[in-house]
């Protein structure tokens, strides 16, 4: 074999292997999504949204409590986590811009984004569940908020940094104090970006199960009470999938399908917005 032939063969092998790797990745995506879709779609019905769980082993019933609980927990988590994240990001990108302190917080946030979420669950359990003696929806919301803060903080910092410094200088030249420059110029310039960051952080926590296991726990009954245990779709999927009843498994697939569709929709929307807004 000549050198040229060997090089061509090596090249071909490498390219085929990398194509196979991509096909392997796509295969799993299609396999998982397809499987969730096939199992989930047959299990969808109006009862799922309109009625509460039937006693174990009995036909029928739905997951109304878990839908409402999931929305409540995620909503309050967003309400707590987003303002703190946005304000923190503002500090890093504006008042503390370029300082060592800002870099340290930025790096720590990046690390916190990937820290095991189950550890956050144990932390909030020790802080809010054990001292009060009961699981609560608030504890679940706060656990999710703790996960959201670093995510929102980092995206806010990045988005504010994209706003050209000259825009701020123009506002300073008109005599505006810094907080007004931030509110009227910087936030406006970065609004789409921050909103996308918020969307993606909601997608991030909406699928979280581990931090809710020991905080909001689960509840087989419909409840608006954030001071007591609150059901969530994800924890319900965990409980139902591990349970012995066929009916539970079917409902777990349906819930999985809805969670997946919701999160994929938000993720795709977020990416589309970023692409549209920051095409350069």
């Amino acid at each position: 074999m000549t050198v040229e032939q060997r090089r061509k063969l090596e090249n071909l092998t490498a390219l085929v292997l990398s194509t196979l790797a991509a096909a392997f990745g796509l295969f799993w995506l299609i396999f998982i999504l397809g499987d969730v879709l096939v199992h989930g779609i047959g299990a969808l019905n109006a009862d799922l949204f309109l009625s509460d769980p039937a006693p174990p082993g009995i036909e029928g019933g739905g997951l109304r409590n878990a839908f409402v609980g999931q929305i409540m927990i995620t909503f309050f988590a967003t309400l707590i986590g987003v303002p703190i994240g946005v304000l923190g990001g503002t500090f890093l990108a504006e008042y503390a811009r370029g300082t060592r302190f800002a870099r340290i917080i930025s790096v720590l946030s990046d690390i916190m984004v990937s820290v095991p979420s189950i550890v956050i669950g144990t932390f909030i359990y020790a802080l809010l569940v054990r001292p009060l003696g009961h699981f609560s929806g608030w504890a679940g919301s706060i656990a999710l908020a703790v996960i959201m803060i670093p995510v929102v903080l980092r995206t806010t910092e990045d988005m504010l940094s994209l706003v050209p410094w000259t825009l701020r200088e123009a506002a300073f030249a008109l005599g505006a104090p810094y907080y007004k420059v931030i509110m009227k110029v910087v936030y406006r310039g970065a609004a789409t970006g921050i909103l996308t960051g918020v969307l993606l952080s909601i997608a991030r926590v909406a699928g979280e199960t581990a931090p809710l296991l020991f905080t909001s726990f689960n509840n087989n009954f419909f409840s608006w009470d954030m001071n007591g245990p609150v059901a969530s779709l994800t924890v319900t999927v965990f409980q139902y999938a591990m349970g012995p009843f066929e009916e539970w498994h079917t409902q777990a697939w349906a819930a999985s399908l809805l969670i997946t569709l919701f999160i994929l929709a938000i993720t795709i929307l977020g990416r589309a917005i970023i692409k549209w807004r920051y095409r350069s």
């Binding site: 304000l87 697939w253 999985s256």
Partner: protein
């Protein structure tokens, strides 16, 4: 570019509020470390700081606990997942940056990243109902009758294939971390200056030679950071493995055996712990996991920052 225009009292107030919000990250980290140390002090006192880490006991009845079995499970699943995921992810990154025609680059990149958006509980449930039976009925028996026959390696594939074991958990974990590794590897590859690649093509290099001799050396620090980041993620993954690992506290030589990781133990036993020592031991496990993943993630960040600094955009 720091600015000193703090004459306005509202401005002072607003900057203070944002500063407090930024410090919340530090407060959370210190809070986690402090609370977990406080809660685990009972177990540390009773079993000893290091003795707990090396003890293979896990017996709620006699209230004797140790972390060795769960640390073993955590490390085995993580390492095995990386062994599967890293070559695949680098292959994907090569495909997306160099091989794929332009109209495919975007869509395939997005598709791989969607894998990362699927919540881990979905992976877990899919693993339990779909992957585990396939593993038990087809893949694991096939492995046993091929590589399982080999001396030495055969030990890894002993036992009855049930599908609920270290191997299945690692496969699911690897599918989960492929997207992280692939997207960081892709970003690192893209930092290679086009001029250098073009010069290589100009003297007649093949695509693979460009990747091997130009792109990989250029991006190795970033790719390595991405691999370590995936390692950190895999250490702390809970729901994807909770369904298919069996939560059995033992150190086994076979990958076809049930085992436990720190995360799986926490998920299964935390709300059932009926004594103070039991709960405290679980908190100690959480502390060990937090420190392990924090250190690994910090190392990953260090390499990613170095890569960025060197070839910064």
């Amino acid at each position: 570019m720091g600015i000193t225009l703090r004459k306005d009292p509202i401005d002072l107030f607003f900057s203070a509020v944002t500063a407090v919000a930024a410090c919340s990250v530090i407060a959370i980290i210190l809070g986690i470390v402090f609370v977990l140390i406080r809660e685990s002090s009972l177990a540390i006192g009773k079993f000893g700081f290091f003795a707990f880490l090396t003890s293979t006991d896990w017996n709620p009845v006699t209230e004797s606990f140790g972390a060795a079995t769960t640390i073993f499970g955590t490390i085995v699943t993580t390492v095995l997942a990386l062994v599967i995921a890293v070559p695949t992810a680098i292959g994907i990154a090569i495909f997306v940056t160099e091989v794929a025609p332009d109209f495919l680059k975007g869509p395939i990149g997005i598709a791989i990243e969607l894998l990362a958006a699927i919540p881990s509980i979905i992976y877990g449930m899919w693993g339990l109902f779909t992957l585990a039976p396939i593993m038990a009925n087809h893949i694991e028996p096939a492995l046993q009758s091929t590589v399982g026959r080999l001396p030495l390696i055969g030990i890894l594939f002993e036992g009855t294939p049930m599908g609920i074991d270290l191997f299945t958990a690692s496969v699911i974990l690897s599918i989960m971390i492929i997207p992280f590794t692939a997207s960081i590897a892709r970003d690192s590859f893209n930092l290679t200056p086009a001029v250098v690649k073009e010069s290589a093509y100009g003297i007649g290099a093949t695509k693979w030679e460009v990747v091997k001799n130009i792109v990989l050396p250029y991006s190795k620090v970033g790719v390595f950071g991405g691999v370590v980041l995936s390692l950190g993620r895999a250490l702390g993954e809970t729901m994807a493995v909770a369904f298919v690992l069996g939560n059995s506290h033992k150190i086994t030589s076979s990958l076809l055996d049930a085992a436990a990781t720190i995360t799986v133990t926490l998920a299964n036993e935390f709300t059932e712990a009926d004594s103070d020592v039991y709960l405290s031991s679980l908190f100690y496990l959480a502390l060990v996991l937090f420190l392990m993943s924090f250190i690994v993630l910090a190392i990953a960040k260090f390499f990613l920052l170095r890569a960025e600094k060197r070839y910064g955009r």
